[in-house]
Symmetry: C2
Subunit: 107 residues, 2 copies
């Protein structure tokens, strides 16, 4: 049985979803615009936004036929914290040797 921490990382440790959060750090954006900015396919984006929404990381309001998304305060704090840590450990992470260098690639 999965625990809250498992769900937390399932939600956050996804490239597309984390990118969405990064983009929402300082402004509200509608789905279509996110799609253009991030280059995520429409279907994936929709699934990912719903996930983030259901998890409570972002909030949504309708504006005509668009849906406008905004990050919530605590999540913004966490995303900033993660970004900070990534910067600190960047050089180690990139030469870990256990984590795969490329998607689908050899170490």
């Amino acid at each position: 049985m999965k625990k809250a921490t498992d769900f937390f990382f399932d939600a956050l440790a996804n490239k597309n979803r984390f990118n969405i959060l990064m983009h929402l750090r300082n402004k509200e954006i509608c789905a279509g615009e996110l799609q253009k900015n991030l280059g995520i396919g429409q279907t994936n984006l929709s699934h990912d936004l719903k996930c983030l929404l259901n998890c409570g990381f972002i909030i949504m309001r309708k504006d005509g036929r668009k849906r406008v998304y905004k990050i919530n305060t605590e999540t913004k704090g966490l995303v900033d914290e993660v970004a900070k840590h990534v910067k600190i450990y960047e050089r180690y992470l990139k030469k870990c040797g256990i984590l795969k260098e490329e998607k689908n690639g050899r170490i």
Copy 2:
């Protein structure tokens, strides 16, 4: 090409690896003891410890034929922060509906 953030989550968002960090939050432990406490297989544990070590999240010292591991300060801060956030969002995460409820299971 993977970026630092991708490696960061590859390293941290792994159940075993995050559990190891949780266990190392307040004390040093050797590999064998971690194995007993966490119920991870020897091989996996070894791979995971090496990963965390290479990423700079933990440090190691040899003690006879044992290897004793300790979390570093910044990582401890991050792990605590994550634990805090998991607590805040727990109820939402568990009923996301997009994230799978069980490994290998239906939503």
